[in-house]
Amino acid sequence: MDMDLNTRIKIGALDLKNPVMTASGTFGYGPEFEDFIDINRLGGIVVKGTTLHHREGNPYPRMAETPSGMLNAVGLQNKGVDVFCNEIYPNIKHYDTNILVNVSGSTVEEYIATAERINELEHIPGIELNISCPNVKEGGMAFGTSCPSAVAVTHAVREVYKKTMVVKLSPNVTNIAEIAKAVQDVGADGVSLINTLLGIAVNAETRKPLLSTITGGLSGPAVKPVALRMVWQVSKAVNIPIIGMGGIMNATDAIEFMLAGASAIQVGTANFIDPTVTMKIVDGIEDYMRRHGVSDVNDLIGAMIED
């Protein structure tokens, strides 16, 4: 007997056909994956972190493999918002999925100016406000590690950006729930978490760090338990939707994030291991729903049994 399944999820004004999104910085702008998957089957994609001006990013080496994960220090390399609007957007706007632009900046003014430009793009229904990039000297994570600065940038962008705004949170804080609550109170439509965890890798033989920047952001299955804990904590503190991420490699991982309180999930590092993984997760969530007699995916959100 085939069940009628509802896999649609709402985040702000976004209507996702399923909870599976791709994480910023791990999926390019979409075309990179067209040979491997049907992008239109995704709930959404979050394109590469975009800033007001062109950024070259950090010097090579900017990646190191670590047990069950990787460190990166790409440093928001991107061609700037004008190139995105004029050259990249026209090639992706036809995707039948929710395209979110990850917006970053060194100053509040830069965030505002970038968000204003993105606001003009008809086929971009939302932004992910990146206040958690650990790999830039100015701005980025600095905004996301204290309540006053997180509030300041979120509030300022909210004033100019009228579509759905999700704020991407840093795990490199003492109390992530407090920051989630603070950005909710100034108008965030959702929060996404976690960005990468700050880490270091060292070569004992050469005594040198493996990254040009010494520190980088850890991602992959190594961070999953931390991410799950933070999603769970944030879910107790806010009533806006949470997009959970951190080491999701398969549908089971995705379900775990939903049970911990996420409405949708983002697949990041796993895209590097298997460029088709998102399709397997979309299918796997449906299989799970059938196996467990869950007809509406929304019933999985926060459904961890805590007794």
């Binding site: 910085g25 791990t26 999926f27 390019g28 990179e32 994956f33 040979d35 491997f36 590469k48 070259e56 990013g57 010097p59 090579y60 080496p61 900017r62 990646m63 190191a64 493999e65 670590t66 047990p67 069950s68 994960g69 990787m70 990166n72 790409v74 390399q77 992959g220 590092t269 895209n271 590097f272 291991i273 298997d274 460029p275 088709t276």
Partner: protein, 260 residues
């Protein structure tokens, strides 16, 4: 230029041929016709069942047998990933993303072509030599390494050009670095090189001084292999470019290598 779609699929190990304790040649077969593979293309191999080889392993394509839907990879054991893959047996499967990268330019007016390979960097030069032969060019092929153990597959290279050898310890061929080899005194119009970074820079320097066009195949650390993560960048005159998609082959004129 039209290129076939990239694939991620399970391929069958047709043969795993040990060369010596450090090197092996993995021959992989596909069920269906191969996409077009250019010399310089590479693959990303998924190593299963280890948390220490979390990312795929980028490996150059060594040779292609289109008629059998198979291709070969020349691999040096350098870490856990390449060690685990050395245990693969005929009939095993391995997930492969391919073909990746841009490839060497084989359309050339050059008559006197020199290929310079260092260590496992010789890998992409075999299929390149084969393709050059098809265009009527028989290159000189200089293979370099620390010692005799690092000079591999000489008979295979000899099929497609005259082979010259240099070793740092002089155990085979001329003693010294590839850049000191006498073959560099011959007339050369074009150099293709792949090997350790310092070797390629030294070769590029000689090419620059003698006004010889030079293509290098870079080997940066990479994650995705398809231009998404921006981890493998190299510094070019147009800013950071991805080795995985804008390369791995670059003309040295494009790179910021401060040749002088």
């Amino acid at each position: 230029m039209h290129t076939d779609k990239k694939r991620a699929e399970d391929l069958t190990v047709v043969e795993n041929r040990k060369i010596n304790k450090d090197y092996y040649v993995l021959k992989l077969g596909a069920k269906n016709d191969l996409p077009q593979i250019l010399p310089g293309h590479f693959v990303e191999l998924l190593v299963e069942d280890t948390r220490n080889a979390f990312l795929r392993r980028p490996i150059s394509i060594y040779d292609v047998q289109s008629e059998c839907n198979s291709f070969e990879l020349l691999i040096q054991i350098v870490g856990e990933g390449t060690r685990l893959m050395s245990n693969l047996q005929s009939g095993d499967t391995i997930n492969v993303m391919y073909p990746l990268g841009n490839g060497f330019t084989t359309k050339t007016n050059a008559k006197n072509v020199l290929l310079v390979g260092g260590g496992v960097g010789v890998a992409p030069l075999l299929y390149l030599a084969k393709q050059l032969n098809e265009k009527g060019i028989r290159p000189n092929i200089l293979l370099g390494g620390r010692a005799a153990d690092n000079i591999i597959e000489i008979d295979n290279f000899s099929k497609y050009g005259e082979v010259f050898i240099s070793t740092e310890d002089g155990s085979v061929g001329e003693k010294g670095f590839v850049t000191q080899h006498s073959v560099l005194n011959k007339e050369i119009d074009k150099i293709y090189t792949c090997g350790p970074d310092l070797m390629m820079r030294a070769v590029a320097d000689i090419a620059f001084k003698q006004n010889i066009d030079c293509e290098v195949s870079l080997e940066n650390m990479m994650a995705c292999g398809i231009g998404a993560c921006l981890c493998c960048v190299t510094d070019t005159k147009e800013g950071h470019k991805c080795v995985c998609t804008d390369g791995p082959v670059f003309n040295t004129k494009e790179l910021k290598w401060n040749l002088a």
